[in-house]
């Protein structure tokens, strides 16, 4: 009753508030945050996002009544109007954008709440509590930018949000910019900053693609407004569409960490864990998927483009999944898993299975946020154990404890080899982690099962090659998650800090529990035979959504594969790991799968040397070119020869000639003569400046008399 009444009126006009509420949060925290207690800052930021979520819910209710949605021009503000280019600040409210708003602000709220507790400990761990406020300002800014991105009504406004989230990502990856040990270049103290830089620059390559696509669009259609572009697109040439879509794909690859631009995402884990969860797993990285979904009418016009997008997604899914198997860092493993899952989504939207892609985007936001936050909980638990040990009564040498140290030579609380047996120390975290992992692995009836199966089922009849890639990736997914669960939670603790780990407070675990519930029931959004989400999105996607029938074969196959992978994982990490642990250090393999994979494992462990390859292919060439330009070209040719000899030499001779006879003789003579004259004149007229105010007044009067006299005599 109440709902119906509420829905009868339409709340579309509220849409600017999804952006303004977080802005309000930022302003409050900036202006008075310095005087508030730490918890209040977090509460304000969380409330701002929660209010945004509430607005999104109202919008969804309104949309339930008026499916077509609307475009709200914000105060009729014209943003840019140059020549033929007219862009307004307008918000687009339709089922797709509102779905994204709900996912972003919903998951965002939970992660904000989690961050209240997490950052409390994190700022103390890094010994700079003053950055607590900064964190929440950045975090809210991110929500602002993400909301601008999803509510944009044209490509340029979308680009504003796109760049904005990139900026927030950069700021938050490098949040501890003066910390961070080790890293690729072994530069102490700035590896976090380097990671941020890497993310930013890699994204810049993608953004370049996006910009080119935007320019091409303007050139071809004379507008950047979504509807205008889509109505004019069918009349454009194939080549134009292909160019636009492929350049856009470059942007997607940058933001959504697809091949070949995915390399920044694993390094982005240098940011605090809530950042990894919100930005680098649940929301920002899915912007690329959203972009393709939003532009699906363009992609639908070019089967080649669709093909390429789907292949990029499929390859990324498999490629990243293999790397994830060899990771020991709890967050890096999840990062590669994220890349892999993004590959699933990109493949889905590339094939034209938009709904499946968005469905997976939403469920993935639930369980990947859950996994990251739980990982954060594990890290803090282990860190707490480490802290208790360092400052407690137990004193042992580090090497005796058999810890795996990070490259800075310190205890690494993120290394899974330092964990084990945490299920008893951290029961809540264990349960929610298990839920998240099972959802990711695609076990019936958790959220991941439904969404992944929908992608696989669509792939089977739309693009069989991608189907093969994806199902293998799904197998790996189940395997590496089993590996991770076992290494963290089962068997005996492998380091002393793990023995002293403790469960975190309720404030930290409550969002985890809520996300776990969502991960369990999230699949209900789009169950087979009901297709709630499909019908919902169909109002926007029009031709993009096809109601696929539930494919028992695919569901069965993927479940069997997942179960097989889990069984294999349990065998390797439950049994073999314990057995190998008893071997002497020299004979002990790095990982239980190493003896089976041999060389391939080395490849996995080194992430297939992609970073090194890029370093060799791009960085070295670039440095060599710079060197050539600076030494050969700049120094020798430009500086030594051209400047020093050709220009400077002749100049010097001319100058000498000009200096001696011309300058000293003629010019100086004139100048000095003028100087002497004016000096004499000045010293004479200087007497008028006697400082007596009355004499000045007399001169004024004299002037007045003279002028009047002239006027009379004229």
């Amino acid at each position: 009753m109440l709902l119906r009444e509420a829905a009868a009126t339409n709340y579309f006009n509220l849409v600017p508030w999804v952006v303004f509420f977080p802005v309000l949060g930022i302003l409050i925290n900036l202006l008075v945050g310095g005087r508030l207690r730490e918890k209040m800052i977090g509460v304000i930021a969380s409330l701002a996002v929660a209010a945004s979520f509430a607005v999104a819910v109202l919008l969804a209710l309104s949309l339930n009544d008026q499916h077509a949605g609307t475009i709200i021009a914000f105060m009729n503000l014209e943003w840019i109007s140059i020549g033929d280019l007219h862009i307004d600040w307008a918000f687009r409210v339709d089922t797709l954008s509102v779905t994204m708003m709900l996912a972003v602000s919903g998951v965002g709220t939970l992660i904000h709440i989690y961050a209240i507790a997490y950052m409390h400990a994190d700022v103390r761990h890094h010994q700079d509590p003053t950055r607590y406020r900064r964190f929440f300002v950045f975090f809210n800014l991110f929500i602002v930018m993400m909301m601008i991105l999803v509510s944009a009504d044209n490509y340029l406004m979308l680009f504003v949000g796109w760049e904005g989230v990139g900026l927030c990502s950069y700021l938050l990856i490098g949040f501890w910019y003066d910390k961070g040990k080790g890293g690729a270049n072994h530069l102490d103290g700035i590896s976090n900053a380097l990671a941020g830089k890497k993310a930013f620059i890699t994204n810049r390559i993608g953004d370049f693609g996006f910009l080119i696509a935007t320019f091409l669009m303007f050139g071809a259609f004379g507008s950047l407004q979504f509807d205008t572009v889509f109505t004019k697109a069918p009349f454009a040439s194939q080549g134009t569409i292909l160019a636009i879509t492929l350049f856009m794909l470059l942007g997607v690859a940058g933001k959504s960490a697809q091949l070949p631009l995915y390399v920044w995402l694993p390094d982005a884990m240098a940011g605090p864990t809530p950042v990894s969860a919100l930005i680098h797993a649940a929301t920002m990285v899915t912007a690329g998927v959203y972009l393709v979904a939003r532009s699906h009418e363009l992609y639908a016009l070019s089967s080649q483009a669709q093909n390429i997008v789907a292949l990029v997604g499929g390859l990324t899914a498999l490629f990243a999944a293999t790397i994830a198997v060899g990771q020991f860092d709890i967050k890096k493993l999840l990062a590669y898993s994220t890349i892999s899952q993004l590959g699933f989504m990109v493949a889905a939207v590339g094939m034209g299975a938009i709904v499946a892609g968005i469905f997976h985007l939403v469920t993935h936001a639930f369980f990947k946020a859950l996994l990251f936050l739980s990982a954060g909980s594990v890290i803090q638990g282990v860190e707490a154990g480490h802290h208790a040990m360092e400052h407690g009564s137990i004193k042992e040498s580090k090497h005796k404890r058999g810890e795996h140290l990070n490259e800075g030579g310190e205890f690494d609380a993120q290394d899974m080899r330092n964990m084990g047996g945490l299920s008893r120390r951290m029961p809540v975290t264990f349960v929610v982690y298990l839920v998240g992992a099972l959802a990711l692995a695609g076990i019936f009836p958790l959220a991941g099962f439904w969404s992944k199966d929908e992608i696989l089922a669509e792939a089977l009849h739309l693009h069989p090659a991608v189907f093969v890639l994806l199902i293998i990736a799904a197998f790996f997914t189940a395997f590496y998650m089993t590996r991770q669960i076992w290494m963290i939670f089962f068997s005996k603790p492998r380091s002393r800090p793990a023995e002293y780990a403790r469960e975190n407070s309720l404030l930290l675990t409550l969002p985890l529990i809520l996300l776990a519930v969502l991960s369990v029931f999230g699949g209900a959004l789009n169950l087979p035979f009901w297709h709630t989400l499909t019908h919902w999105l169909d109002y926007t996607l029009a031709e993009g959504a096809k109601v696929g029938s539930f494919n028992y074969l695919v569901a069965g196959l993927s479940t069997v594969l997942a179960l097989a992978a889990i069984a294999l994982g349990i065998f390797l990490y439950g049994k073999r790991y314990q057995a190998q642990a008893k071997l002497p250090a020299a004979q002990r393999p790095v990982d239980p799968v190493q003896p089976y994979l041999r060389g391939a494992f080395t490849g996995i462990q080194h992430k297939w040397w992609i970073d090194e390859f890029y370093d060799w292919l791009i960085l070295r060439r670039y440095v060599a070119l710079s060197r050539f330009l600076s030494y050969r070209f700049e120094e020798r040719f430009w500086h030594d020869w051209l400047h020093d000899n050709a220009i400077a030499g002749s100049f010097r001779q001319t100058a000498h000639f000009l200096a001696q006879p011309v300058d000293l003789g003629i010019i100086d003579g004139i100048a000095n003569g003028l100087g002497t004259i004016s000096q004499r004149f000045a010293s004479w007229i200087r007497r008028a400046q006697n400082g007596f105010v009355r004499s000045y007044a007399t001169w004024v009067l004299a002037g007045m008399v003279i002028i009047l006299g002239y006027l009379i005599l004229r």
């Binding site: 007399t698 007045m704 009047l708 009379i712």
Partner: protein, 168 residues
Amino acid sequence: MSLNLIFFLLLALIAVLSAVGLLASRSALYSALYLIINFATVAVMYLTLHAPFIAIVQITVYAGAIMVLFLFVIMLLGAEHIGSLHPQRWFLPLALVLGILLLAEAIIIIFTQPNLLPEAQVISSDFGSPKAIGELLFNQYLLPFEATSILLLVAMIGAIVLTKPEKK
């Protein structure tokens, strides 16, 4: 010669003589007193020119308040005796010559420009009455009138700030 003209010439004579006295007296105190006489004379002329309101203002504000302020400062500083002669000898004659030239030019302009001075218009009986001036002031000149209040406030603040003893 009409009675009006005689009366005017008498007043003009007093005004000019008091102005000369202002210039010539050695004591600043006497100068101030001469100036008061001058102001009062001019106020009487205002009355003959149908400006009773302005005449009263002239007496109360000018000859009253402002001149009291002058006298007060002169007493306060105790600096009424300062020689009037300029150290440079040629200065006084130059000033006088220039002054006479200016006056001469003004008179020439007055008498050689026939269109400059209009014929007297017929005026109504309440011309220059406080009521008429008030109506003009509060209707047409309301904004300038309010602006002068700000000006006076600023002057007041300025005077306070300037004369405030300096803090060490």
